[in-house]
Symmetry: C2
Subunit: 353 residues, 2 copies
């Protein structure tokens, strides 16, 4: 059994429950490797997948019949309910019945912020959402491998952004090229969270690509967060179109140095708040310094002012200091894996202006 | 008040509730015009938006602070809770408190298959999900306008697919061009459900674009379902690369004729099951003949065998007969708006092979 399932069962046991019922797609992916489609919102034919982890054998996934084959390919047991078809659509009742049958009267430790009320009504449960979210912070080797592959997609996307960003191109056209490069490299559709903004929009920290046309001498801020095999990569670079002005160069030097000293300082035993303070010195950005990365695109440990989490080996964190003022913003970001002593930088993209 | 809010309040009243609490993003968009981001799954900083519709004034949206401005732009009242920031992440408790405050002890008619258990625990509720879903079937003029605009994006995407599909191109490369055309036309990121398969994959009805390379003489099946302003378009065409074989031409003629006679037959008073039977005559496809389209990409009325729904003016339905056999599949699809007498075809894309 992967160590994370044992850790999840410990959480259940401390909550006086007999099993874990994962309801959040990130927790389901973490415990089973089963990755739900997310790009087009809730399906009319299925609820979000559920996973029951009890002692002994593999977890049981509760999914619609359409997902049965993919769910079984993870090595998990599968209980399914009717999905896409010609009959009446009632995935809520289908999932509720399948869940009740699967849980069979056991008390479960679950995530009631993700579990629909109709399903929660069919089982005896206790809330263990915060503990499960915290447990996800330490990655196992198979997870680190998936994160490396997701970050490789970031590198591909950042390279394309740098190659294609040019005066006369619109943000949404640049976006299309970047997304295409990532999806062609991945060999299929790839969920992608992103900031892609240009010129004065860079001062707003982030935003979705729009119709604005890029102009000589300005900056493009590109933060790419693709999901591959259920794990999210993260990356940011700021690209100058032509010769950057002196202020942009100064900001860039400051955030680049902040990132370097932060990466250099990362080691087990350090508190998140202390790392945040080190990064922030001489800078004044309104957002976090960093965050964990895994089956969610922002998770523990959060690198924020006063953050009490103590860094541990196996944590994977994205670090992203920035500087935003006078109509222009700069941010650079790398992902690191915390080892026994220091950290390994997983990101390979260019950080220059 | 838009008629649909009155219809929703009637549903609440019949369920002996004082208000409607919309919890499914499709129902929230339908009642308020507020469209939630969906492309990157559940946010760590916010739950899915909620909307309370009571008598009198505009609905109240319960959203994270990050969504406050966009939510207020719909003309709705807004109650917000902390979102993205430097403090602890606890959107579940934030949303639960905000919801409790907003509902204030009223009994609500809601969607417990979409409402998280943590939120449902804070209000008195009764299940009205099926009635709300059924009520969405009749569209008002502002909704029809949004559907037209979403279908215009389908036309753009289908045109690009036809222009770019060529031997030597991979499915995922073709997908990148199609998606780029749609997003550039929309001026921003656009959720997009799609089948994009080639050659023998067309027999499998649908599927996500992969690494397969298109080859001379084979078919490409392209079903594009983009969301614009919260409303989904739908469209399908089958494209031959070079000269199609005789079997493909025969299949195409049969499904094209099935679509034509179905569109011609659509009128108020017709039962969904009878329309399905007419479309299916001489064909043997395993899926529905059609479905409603709105803030969900598949909703009432479903055009399926035995379907009892009686068609009414204001319904918008996608019709999509197909033929799949001997290693090759063909499907064509158009969207129609049911009027007082017959229907108007909203789709403008090419249906030829």
């Amino acid at each position: 059994m992967p160590e994370r399932r044992e850790r999840a069962l410990d959480i259940a046991s401390r909550a006086r429950a007999e099993a874990v019922l994962a309801a959040h797609p990130s927790t389901v992916a973490w415990l089973t490797g089963y990755v739900a489609d997310i790009e087009t919102g809730p399906s009319p034919f299925a609820l979000s997948p559920l996973a029951l982890v009890a002692g002994g054998g593999p977890p049981t996934l509760v999914v619609s019949r359409d997902e049965e084959e993919a769910a079984a390919a993870t090595g998990c047991a599968v209980v399914s309910y009717p999905g896409f078809g010609l009959g009446p659509m009632n995935p809520v009742e289908g999932a509720a019945e399948a869940l009740e049958r699967t849980v069979g009267g056991r008390m479960v430790a679950t995530e009631p912020g993700a579990l629909p009320a109709s399903l929660a009504a069919r089982v005896s449960w206790v809330d263990a959402a915060a503990e499960l979210a915290a447990a996800r912070a330490i990655k196992e080797p198979d997870e680190i491998e998936k994160l490396r592959r997701a970050i490789a997609l970031c590198d591909t996307g950042q390279k394309e952004a740098r190659a294609r960003a040019a005066p006369g191109v619109s943000e949404i056209e640049l976006w299309a090229d970047v997304r295409a490069a990532i999806e062609v490299a991945a060999g299929g559709r790839t969920p992608l969270l992103a900031d892609l903004v240009s010129g004065p929009r860079t001062e707003e920290i982030g935003g979705s690509p729009g119709e604005r046309t890029l102009t000589e001498g300005e900056l493009v801020l590109c933060d790419l967060v693709p999901r591959r095999d259920g794990y999210w990569g993260d990356s940011c670079a700021t690209i100058a179109l032509g010769e950057p002005n002196a202020t942009a160069r100064r900001k860039h030097r400051a955030v680049r140095e902040a990132l370097e000293r932060t990466v250099e300082a990362v080691r087990p035993g350090l508190r998140a708040g202390d790392l945040d303070e080190l990064a922030r010195s001489g800078l004044d950005y309104p957002h976090h310094t960093g965050h964990g990365l895994g089956t969610a695109w922002h998770e523990e440990p959060r690198i924020v002012p006063g953050g009490k989490t103590v860094l541990e080996p196996g944590m994977v964190i994205a670090l992203e200091p920035g500087a935003y003022a006078d109509g222009e913003g700069v941010r650079v970001e790398q992902v690191v894996l915390i080892g026994e002593d220091g950290c390994e930088v997983l990101s390979g993209h260019e950080l220059e202006l």
